[in-house]
Symmetry: C2
Subunit: 367 residues, 2 copies
């Protein structure tokens, strides 16, 4: 993997870059739709490509439980298995173990838990997390981290953060496929000093990329932005920065302004399945009666697989419980996010990201 910094905005910390992987190129800032179980819910790889998506995220925890990484490896790796032939980032499974699994017990060695699917007793260690991701064959693998819920007692946050650094080093030292890059994950809750310490420690381990984890877990946006700004400032300029699990369109613009390059979030697809469409005039709730005979597309400025359908038809699909509703609005929302990234990249190149961000915010709030 290779990361190239192409331009900076000048007035903000926003950056324009390019990630080159064995499975293709990703222009940054980039948004990765989430394909938890090897599919971005409701979209064929072809539809996904048509939204402007260049890279997706897949979940190691889910895929290791079902169908199992050995099946995916046998069938030629994630790209061959899923039909998405572009770049893929896999998470380490840590976040899912701590949020989905049962009877979770952490030790220095790793984490022991029961599968949320069949109750099977399993262990995830830093070495095992890298082994699974090697079998999956993703382009970017994430280190295993110890994730704690926020708020938690400060000593627990500190201890988890320190353990995450020790685990990151163990992950780094496992041999992996030559094409696969590893990203470290900065933890530390909302404690800026701890975040800075964690960043420095991880940077000294020299990873090809750095993620910021454990944010957007319920804290007010302003708190997240403050932590984010300070954390990013401690990361090396020549490495990509990835903000995990964030977020709303306004969060993405804010984070880009602080110098973040990569994002993933379930919001566009999860909201799409629930009849909520993102548009330049703010979110639209398609179940509302006011759309019953609205002939307009969701957003005239955003081409997507849903562009040729009226709001009235999309509303009908949701009321009639037809699969095509979730399919089309998910595709639209992903396309909306990708257009936001494309427009951000152009604005950064033109040195006018701050104006662009202001204009977007104004339109979203005016509705």
């Amino acid at each position: 993997m290779h990361f190239e910094l192409l331009a900076t905005d000048g007035h903000t910390a926003a950056r324009r870059g390019r990630l080159t992987t064995a499975h293709g190129t990703v222009e940054t800032p980039a948004f990765m739709p989430v394909g938890t179980q090897g599919t971005v819910k409701g979209l064929t790889p072809q539809m996904l490509r048509e939204t402007g998506t260049q890279m997706i995220l897949a979940n190691t925890y889910h895929l290791a439980l079902r169908p199992g990484e050995e099946v995916i490896e046998k069938l030629g790796g994630l790209q061959r298995f899923t039909g998405w032939n572009g770049p893929i980032l896999t998470d380490s499974g840590g976040f899912q173990v701590f949020s989905l699994a049962d009877q979770v017990r952490v030790s220095e060695r790793g984490v022991v838990f029961r599968s949320h699917i069949d109750g099977a007793r399993l262990e995830l260690t830093p070495e095992r997390a890298m082994e699974i991701q090697a079998a999956l064959g993703s382009d970017i693998a994430m280190v295993l981290d110890h994730v704690v819920a926020l708020p938690s007692p400060p000593d627990q946050i500190v201890e988890a953060c320190r353990r995450s650094v020790r685990w990151a080093e163990r992950c780094r030292d496992v041999a992996g496929p030559p094409h696969q890059a590893r990203f470290a994950i900065v933890q530390g809750g909302l404690d800026v000093d701890l975040r800075l310490w964690c960043s420095r420690e991880l940077v000294s381990l020299r990873f090809p990329g750095y993620a910021i984890g454990g944010l957007s877990v319920g804290e007010p946006p302003q708190e997240m932005y403050a932590v984010l700004r300070d954390t990013v400032s401690a990361l090396p300029a020549d490495r990509p920065r990835y903000l995990m699990g964030v977020g709303r369109p306004e969060d993405l613009l804010e984070a880009i302004g602080h110098g973040v390059d990569m994002f993933d979030c379930v919001l566009p697809t999860r909201n799409g399945r629930n009849a909520l469409a993102f548009t330049d005039a703010g979110p639209i709730k398609l179940r509302n009666a006011c759309y019953a005979d609205d002939p307009r597309p969701l957003d005239e400025t955003c081409p997507s697989p849903a562009s040729s359908f009226s709001r009235a038809f999309l509303r009908h699909l949701f009321l009639a419980k037809e699969m095509l509703g979730p399919i089309l609005v998910s595709a639209h929302n992903v396309a909306y996010y990708q257009k936001l990234m494309r427009d951000s990249r152009e604005a950064i190149e033109a040195g006018r990201f701050a104006e662009f961000r202001e204009e977007k915010r104004r339109r979203w709030h005016e509705g």
Copy 2:
């Protein structure tokens, strides 16, 4: 609408024809996937087009209840509303009233019932059925018929059949959109004499096309085939013949051999949603463990939107309850049906439909 008979098989009663409508051409024998609520479940119009589909069926009963035909008319008719810009046939709503609605009461005037959605009291008369279909703007509208369950007492079958003929005449005499053709529906249960009487009566009313209704409702296939053969023989050679709601691939080949031109059935999409795929080696149940690491596509001879995926991946999607499973296998099954129609048309043109049918049957049964 214009129907042209292009070729006959010579050894069977199979025919090769072409239906020309305001929204495009349909090569016959033709299979129409069912888009009950204005969408063939799980498929975008583009995916549907890629399966080789030329014409779809939409259900008047469902669309009149929700969103209402006045909404669809206001938004430019079914094609504009649904995004499927090819030919559409609408049924009359009769079959659905008799199978889905509550408190159904029939009189000579029409049928009064309660909506299965909200319990609203509604009336469907022959005139109203044509009025709704005129508003929908379909290319082919079906007359309202009185459908009885099989088995029923003979006098009820006779009475319903006679009423269907009287209703057909009333439907014929309602003014409709100039581009819309009306098809009559032959009823008469499994009573061949009654079927022949009904056919003669309807033929004397001079419709542009004739459907055969009330079959494939639980009777043994051989009984259906016998009734079908005799009924078709009483219909004019220069008008298209449409067998409603049938059926399995073997039923389609049998019916084509008796001279049927058009079909509709929910089987490819309903089975697709339930992980059953049609192939030349017979149906495949994708949940079976034997497909867990099967790298082969569903059917190497049938190009479809699912062709680039392994059986192992498709099985994974169903076990993981991912929407993409139903989407891809529905698309495959519709593509399989369309290929069966395409191959049938070629076989008829070459005068070798009987051999083609034998070969297919042999392969389906050998597995």
